[in-house]
């Protein structure tokens, strides 16, 4: 122990480590390899500015961009029983949950909110693929039911952004039973005559596709999103054939009549507003860069004040 080890070496190390590029400042497009500056990428909703590849986006970031002024209110989701099967594989399920919560900063794989898009009130739900593969758990089932109930209560449409590998294996049969449960949620909307729009994002497969993700009034997918029931590898092993290029991709499904539309993420908001306003019998949308509803109220108040001020000024002048 001397001043070299105690003082000099840490200083040298810190100089060198400081030289490294800060993390997350640049992201490489997984498709074309272009290095994209993080702010540019997030401004473009995680769509590569070079090749239009749609990278994953968190529910929160999606809602920030979707809702007017980035303002939305979260809807409470009833808590289900935790770890109902006391499931354990190589890790315990509660440990996997904790790891996923730490990684994403979210409580579970689905976020449900209400707010306005283009001055159109909606309820929205988005699945988080980075949270245990977006898998359909009892919480996800509860979230979809809560979203549907809230939509019915407020007489609003439900827009659901799906992304999942399927039902959550760690909840076993109870994960699977979210197929009928979420189907009941869809039926609530149907009975209330409210639109249910599914935006299928990469990837949406398994039991999720075989329930709420395929029961929409309108099915819109993001470009090149993988959508299907069975995994491509399982299919190849079963039929012992190579699958065609683009199999189970959004454009392929559009060709096979399973989707209504394939729409770029950057154009999704406008399209959703257009469709919803027609289905809800509302007037055409106001085009323009709208401020958040609260800000609008402020703006109106400001304008009124201005008018008043002007009138007072005028009165003062005369």
């Amino acid at each position: 122990m001397n001043w070299i080890t105690n003082y000099v070496r840490p200083r040298i190390n810190s100089i060198f480590s400081r030289r490294e590029v800060p993390e997350n400042l640049w992201q490489k497009c997984s498709e074309c390899g272009t290095m994209l500056f993080h702010r540019e990428l997030s401004d473009n909703l995680n769509v590569c500015t070079n090749c239009d590849h749609h990278m994953a986006i968190t529910p929160r970031a999606r809602f920030d961009a979707l809702f007017d002024g980035g303002i939305f209110v979260e809807i409470d989701v009833p808590e289900p029983v935790a770890d109902p099967l006391k499931f354990r594989d190589q890790k315990r399920y509660p440990d996997r949950m904790k790891a996923a919560q730490k990684k994403t900063g979210e409580k579970e794989a689905m976020l449900v909110v209400e707010g306005e898009i283009g001055r159109t009130p909606i309820v929205a739900a988005a699945q988080d693929f980075s949270f245990m593969g977006g898998s359909m758990s009892m919480y996800v089932g509860n979230a979809i039911l809560a979203a549907a109930e809230r939509a019915v209560e407020l007489k609003r449409p439900l827009v659901l952004f799906s992304a999942a590998g399927g039902a959550r294996m760690q909840e076993g049969i109870l994960g699977l039973m979210q197929m009928p449960r979420t189907t009941i949620a869809v039926q609530m909307l149907k009975q209330a005559g409210l639109p249910y729009i599914v935006v299928l994002t990469h990837p949406t497969t398994g039991g999720v596709t075989a329930s709420y993700a395929m029961l929409g009034d309108v099915h819109i997918a993001e470009p090149n999103a993988l959508i299907g029931f069975a995994g491509a590898r399982v299919i190849e092993q079963t039929i012992r054939e190579k699958l065609p290029e683009g199999f189970q991709r959004a454009e392929y499904l559009l060709d096979h009549g399973i989707l209504d539309r394939v729409t770029k993420r950057t154009e999704m908001r406008k399209e959703l507003v257009t469709i919803i306003r027609m289905l809800m019998g509302q007037s055409p949308q106001v085009v323009g860069d709208l401020p958040a509803p609260e800000q609008l109220d402020d703006a109106i108040a400001d304008a009124e004040n201005d008018v008043q001020d002007a009138a007072e000024d005028k009165a003062d002048a005369t």
Binding site: A82, A167, I173, L174, L176, M214, F229, A230
Partner: protein, 320 residues
Amino acid sequence: MTQYLNFEKPLAEIEGKAEELRALARANEEMDIEAEAEALDAKAEQLLVDLYKDLTPWRKCQVARHPERPHCKDYIKALFTEYTPLAGDRNFADDHAVMGGLARFNDQPVMVIGHEKGSDTKSRIERNFGMARPEGYRKAIRLLQMADKFGLPVITLVDTPGAYPGKGAEERGQSEAIARSTEACLQIGVPLISVVIGEGGSGGAVAFATANRVAMLEHSVYSVISPEGCASILWKDAEKMREAAEALRLTAQDLQELGVADYVVSEPNGGAHRDAETAIAAVGDAIQNLLDEMKAMDGPALIKDRQQKYLDLGSKGLAA
């Protein structure tokens, strides 16, 4: 000749010995081996009881998949009269993995729908091993809606490894077909009873088993994923299927505790394949009991009852 499962090997040896002895005795009339053979029989009988008393989940999967286990076709033949198959989805094809049609159950007209796996190589191929394609689910939807229209109770018999993972199946909307079939199950205003007679394979089973009452045979299983599939994903090793089967809680007994299965039908000693007649009769009794339970409910009450059953599945776990 019974096909023995791996864990039944000791049983196969004893029964083989008894068989051998009897063959010897037939060749040589001087020999008196009957006492010895009977002792072996008794030993085999006891071993069978012991083996099946406490089957592990993985062993239950094997029994549920046993090739000689009675299948949908056998149940329809034994329990229903005037079975009149109705074919096709009116769109693309008739899926032979799904049987369905009008029939009488204890003289009452009903609609019966089920997965059929086939019983020999030829019929297994024809039935696609019980793996339905979109057409199968769409046929089921058609029959469910027809039953609703004419007020006929529906009985579904579930026995499938899962929906067919094929290229054409995906192209014709396998997911949508399953989702719509589940939806149809939830919408019909007639009693819907489902019996898992063998394997309840994931979404392919849900599409038929979203019923007012779900009965499961003692050694049947119903799971979100096959133990092999689960093992290869979570353990990264398909050979860990025993552990996966354990963790998934896929047995009839676990499902009853979780509230998914309402009723467990006992199987004869050694499993349904050792005495199909008894097993089938027990299922028949269960169906009649469950139908009686719902006698007082009208259409809207039946729909509500079914919805409530599934809405409640989110609040209950296994006791620690």
